[in-house]
């Protein structure tokens, strides 16, 4: 499926670099929901990153009774250890975002490499890489994550690797399709005729062309990674020494916050996760729609499964 983002030729010009960066911004600005998502995500990320300086209390500081009610000094109440919920949420969001972005970076590296190599070289390389991708696509990822995390032992870096290593498949497929169309464009052929090596063509001509799509995929994968971290933490597989949002939910559930009537210990962390995932979905969805309308259906399933592109399915498989 060849989807033309720009007219070929227009892209080879030097000033096109600015225009390409502009693609992402324009796609977000054109859609109010995506703008909202970006603003919300930005504010949350700022609050999470600044937690050491702006958090009202200490992360391990008991400031009141167990499951203390919301009050003027503690707008969201206290948790099972008498720790201020606002403080906990800021630190938790920091770890959750860290896991989300680190795991995504990891999976983008794998997915990007596989997708670009398969699309660019085609032939045997393509067949082998796509076969491997297909296997990863079919094996249910959450149970596999659970098994690996259970065997490997709970630690933040393990969680990041486990999530990252299983989330790259949709990126690889999307990028491969895009690279396949890019490499047939005239300017790539010209570059090749002028004697450019594979590395140069990929880095200078192909990568910049697929970068916006890679960004769209990154944002969508962050949402999936954060969801998966929350799920693993809830199943007791999170790092016990690091408080993520998933861990906050798990603690509240394990310490019977619900029977204690302490809704404030359990509603806000999950709502925060939902807001983060929602923001990422809005941004990523808008980007993908703008860049690659054919994949409109596929991105919606990014979290759980990847619906294969509806058109040209068999040519995708080979």
């Amino acid at each position: 499926m060849s989807v033309v983002i720009h007219e070929p030729g227009a892209v080879a010009e030097p000033e096109a670099t600015a225009a390409r960066g502009g693609v992402v911004w324009r796609a977000i600005r054109r859609r109010p929901s995506a703008t909202l998502g970006l603003v919300v995500l930005g504010l949350l990320a700022a609050a999470a990153l600044l937690a050491p300086w702006i958090a009202p209390y200490g992360l391990h500081e008991q400031v009141g009774p167990v499951f203390g009610r919301p009050s003027a000094s503690h707008p969201l109440g206290l948790d099972d250890g008498g720790i201020d919920m606002v403080t906990l949420l800021m630190w938790g969001a920091q770890i959750s975002l860290l896991v989300g972005f680190a795991a995504t970076a990891f999976s983008m590296l794998i997915g990007g490499t596989v997708g670009i190599l398969a699309g660019y070289f085609g032939g045997k390389v393509d067949v082998i890489l796509m076969r491997i991708t297909d296997y990863f696509l079919v094996i249910p990822d959450v149970p596999l994550m659970i098994v690996v995390a259970a065997i490997w032992g709970p630690s933040l870096s393990h969680i990041i690797i486990v999530i990252g290593i299983l989330l790259w498949t949709s990126t690889a497929r999307v990028l491969r399709a895009q690279v396949k169309s890019v490499r047939e464009r005239t300017y790539v052929k010209r570059a090749r005729a002028l004697g450019a090596g594979h590395a140069r063509i990929v880095l200078r001509h192909v990568l910049p062309q697929v970068a916006p799509l890679l960004i769209a995929n990154t944002v969508l994968t962050v949402a999936v990674a954060i969801f998966d971290e929350t799920a693993l933490s809830f199943l007791g597989l999170g790092d016990p020494s690091r408080i993520s949002l998933g861990k906050v939910i798990e603690n509240a559930f394990q310490r019977a916050a619900i029977s204690a009537g302490a809704w404030w210990a359990i509603v806000p962390p999950g709502a925060l996760v939902a807001v983060i995932i929602l923001s990422c979905s809005l941004i990523g969805g808008a980007l993908e729609d703008a860049l690659n309308p054919r994949l409109r259906v596929a991105h919606l399933g990014a979290r759980s499964f990847r619906l294969r592109p509806l058109v040209g399915r068999s040519s995708e498989a080979l």
């Binding site: 659970i146 007791g236 409109r296």
Partner: protein
């Protein structure tokens, strides 16, 4: 490529995938820190003789290759090992768990398909109106919520009205059939609803996208030009083609349903396969975990195969 080739190719792919899953399943658990004996004999002062005897009993003194062959042989006989936790065969534990999981998951999925398709079609049909806005916002909301958290929210909302844990009320002694059934129905409501709502979000968004794509086709324009009523166009012309991806949706989303079931069953103490995975993780019950993972993987692979074949049946063009 002809149809038969396509079918053979898909079946071969499924078989190879299962073989890969078997190897992963064998290798992963052999990589676990300490062998089974170290984990099993929590006896503080086990003598070397005891350890050796245990190691021999579990076949851990043999080479990796021999162990793999033995593993496959046992598997072929349906032997998945003995659970560390309750000393019962893993296969019978799993059978009991699956019996509880299937009705819950089916109920949730049917709920999601019915309401997701309905809402998705309406949203696409009424594009650009408030109806679409509300449907899409609701669907995106449910799509974004962590499954277990949504379950906990329902617990908070319905505590006191509906039972929030377990399969049946343990205090009903020798209930009549109807009472028992009503009790089961009450217990299954919240877990199934949680799963259903999360899937509902996903299905709505996908049906809407598929429907929008179809509504943009030329033959819809033709139908409109012929003067057909909008409802006829949707029902007779658009929905049929839009349902093509949706038909395979359920099987393809099985991986997600599996993840959802694990979380939902943990929240509601539903004694199914998901709960079994959770307990096995907590107790480091490796044979159970191994068996459950294998069962889940094989079901997902088989369902994917069925989805591929169904898609082929509905739309033979895909082999062209």
């Amino acid at each position: 490529m002809r149809g038969a080739d396509y079918v053979i190719k898909r079946v071969a792919f499924a078989v190879v995938t299962i073989a890969v899953a078997l190897m992963i399943n064998f290798a992963l658990f052999r990589l676990a820190p300490g062998d089974a004996v170290a984990n099993l004999s929590r006896v503080p002062h086990a003598t070397p003789e005891t350890r050796l005897a245990l190691r021999r009993e579990f076949g851990l003194d043999k080479s990796r290759g021999t162990q793999f062959v033995l593993y496959l042989k046992q598997l072929a006989h349906g032997n998945l090992g003995i659970s560390f936790a309750n000393q019962q065969p893993v296969s019978s534990n799993l059978t009991a768990a699956v019996k509880n999981t299937v009705p819950m998951v089916l109920l949730g999925t049917i709920f999601a398909i019915v309401f997701g398709t309905f809402t998705g079609v309406i949203a696409a049909w009424r594009r650009g109106t408030a109806v679409e806005g509300v449907s899409v916002t609701t669907a995106l909301g449910f799509y974004s919520m962590p499954t277990h958290w949504l379950g906990l929210m329902l617990v908070i909302l319905f505590a006191g009205t509906l039972p929030t844990g377990g399969l049946t009320n343990e205090f009903l002694i020798n209930p009549s059939f109807m009472t028992h059934l009503r009790d089961l129905a009450a217990h299954i409501t919240l877990p199934a609803l949680t799963l259903g709502l999360v899937l509902f979000g996903e299905y709505t968004l996908i049906v809407r996208s598929a429907m929008l794509e179809t509504l943009g086709e030329d033959y819809i324009l033709t139908a409109r030009a012929k003067g057909l009523s909008p409802w006829t166009i949707v029902r007779k012309h658009a929905l049929r083609n839009a349902m093509l991806p949706v038909a395979t949706l359920v099987a393809l989303s099985l991986g997600y349903i599996v993840a959802g079931a694990i979380l939902v069953e943990t929240v509601f103490s539903w004694p199914g396969i998901g709960r079994a995975v959770y307990d096995a993780v907590l107790q480091r019950d490796y044979p159970m975990l191994q068996g459950a993972f294998l069962l889940l993987t094989i079901s997902v692979v088989v369902c994917n195969l069925l989805a591929d074949l169904l898609y082929f049946k509905l739309d033979p063009r895909i082999t062209e």
